[in-house]
């Protein structure tokens, strides 16, 4: 009998096919990498990108020159622009606003051949520090309300350049999915006076069946009601609402578990295209007791999208307990 499961935070029901879960090898997906050709992200090509907003480099060559190991630049074709005043206006029943914001690219390695799953731990940690540094910097701009950090890996997941990179979009609004998560978490907190994510972590550790791996600071698990097969969440075990407020040892341990989980995903699913998104508190919220930052990773294994995102109704062919077992048991 298939099972309907409800996401405890945002309240979305999904169908889980529990009779015979779809196994990793049964997914047929597009493994085409993003476009090759001239790479504006490779060292030596710094003049081909907009001027960098952050770089970690060991030499003193100055900005926009080679020698960096992490580099952050504005997107050449930005979805939003920094210049201008926010103006919000109505048009009959409609509302609009000019597209103030920022759209940046975090180049994760100088080496074109590296992937996020292959960089060393020091480099992975530095990528996380770069996310943090950009959040801290953009937070000063009081027009901005939310920062989305995400990665599209592989052509099928929306990557347009092959060189490993993540993206940052800073927005003058709070995206709908984020607002829903905040509202759901607040509602639970008002009722229980506990963080729903902390309760989820406690229950997952107790039950064990959806846990992929853990270390002293983090847990990796498949969520109870996943939208898509092999969806993975990474959560800090101690309560914290904002990614940028973590301790130094958190970034060390996050790099370890994040890299480990990507390697497991690549081994089980044979290097699938994937997306991840950092879920963190809105910029102006300060520390809250009810929200808990985390990463959500989604391998892009299934083709259907239009129907699902039009209806908000998801059919998942692989129970998260089976996905977790594959990811937990794989030999690296």
């Amino acid at each position: 009998m298939p099972e309907l499961r409800k996401d405890p935070i945002i309240g979305r029901w999904v169908i889980i096919s529990t009779e015979r879960g779809k196994r990793p090898s049964e997914f047929e997906y597009n493994q085409v990498p993003a476009k090759a050709g001239f790479c504006p992200f490779c060292p030596g090509n710094e003049p081909k990108t907009p001027n960098e907003v952050l770089a970690y480099r060991k030499n003193n060559n100055g900005p926009n020159s080679a020698g960096w190991h992490i580099r952050v630049v504005p997107n050449k074709y930005p979805a939003l622009k920094v210049e201008g005043e926010i103006s919000r206006e109505g048009d009959g029943v409609y509302d609009k606003m000019n597209g103030i914001g920022a759209h940046e690219v975090i180049i994760e390695s100088p080496d074109h051949k590296e992937s996020l799953a292959s960089v060393n731990m020091r480099q992975f940690e530095e990528i996380l520090w770069a996310y943090r540094d950009r959040i801290i910097d953009l937070k000063k701009d009081l027009r901005l309300r939310y920062i989305l950090i995400f990665k599209n890996h592989g052509e099928a997941a929306g990557a347009t350049l092959e060189h490993s990179h993540s993206q940052l979009i800073a927005l003058p609004i709070i995206p709908k999915r984020v607002a829903e998560e905040l509202d759901g978490a607040l509602e639970y907190y008002n009722f229980k006076e506990r963080c729903i994510f902390c309760d989820i972590i406690r229950q997952e550790i107790m039950q064990g069946s959806r846990v992929i791996s853990e270390n002293s600071d983090f847990i990796a698990l498949t969520p109870y009601a996943p939208k898509a097969p092999f969806e993975i969440w990474l959560l800090p075990k101690a309560h914290e609402s904002s990614f940028e407020n973590c301790q130094k040892h958190h970034y060390e341990n996050l790099a370890l578990i994040f890299s480990d989980v990507l390697k497991r995903m690549n081994k089980v699913l044979n290097f699938p295209p994937y997306n991840f998104i950092l879920h963190t508190a809105p910029l102006k919220d300060g520390a809250t007791q009810y929200y808990h930052w985390h990463f959500e990773i989604m391998p892009k294994l299934t083709k259907v999208a239009g129907f699902e995102w039009g209806s908000g109704f998801y059919i998942n062919p692989t129970p998260p307990e089976e996905a977790a077992q594959f990811l937990r048991d794989v030999k690296l």
Copy 2:
């Protein structure tokens, strides 16, 4: 300057690239049709599907034989099953329910080569009557709360069989996106004492820039804040909350405008893969003043999905005013 626009019903903000909209020929999408090979939906192969639940036929050959022009059968691999009692239970912070429901396939023509855009008007109208007949029948099952009718056309949009068909999923819950739309429409109604969709139709007719076509009963338009390029909505001009309560002339005029819009979409976008979803009131709601049934059609032109459906944040490269103009001006 890009523009942020807010959907007036569910409150989602999207980014619209207004500077230079992406033109139809600039989208690169996968035009692969769904799998060919043996077709269980062709006349003569009736025994290869589960027993039909509805068929329109002119002869008296009896059920599950050739001679039909529309045939509805249960899905051979259903996401939900009709048998059993609803049982809802908790598991710590989580909620689940057994997968009671129905999953049916509406075979739109006996001719394997026809598409929904190519069938004659009489046939198109009969497909709409089949949707209605199935809703009316399933409504008697008091365990069910919502019926989703949708179509996946082309492999990239999730179709697994080539023979033209749509699908019906009857659910014991209300899908999240539907609930949001109902909540948003009710909130507007409570404030204004008017249906938000009726207000949208009035404003769109007055402004004209997003209207594709209209007839005495229906209007086809591109929504103000579309999630995806070339998204199209078809709405009845007169207020009505449930698809199944339409008058006979509504189905005639819906067939006309629906077929016309699909032909326009095929001409402008060169036969894209697409999805459509019927948005109608929940089964137990009765007639309401605040909700207004409609179809949403989404050509599948862009690849990115994971990031968008994970964050609820959409970047649309084609302003709906430009999309409407292409669709309005094309010579058929």
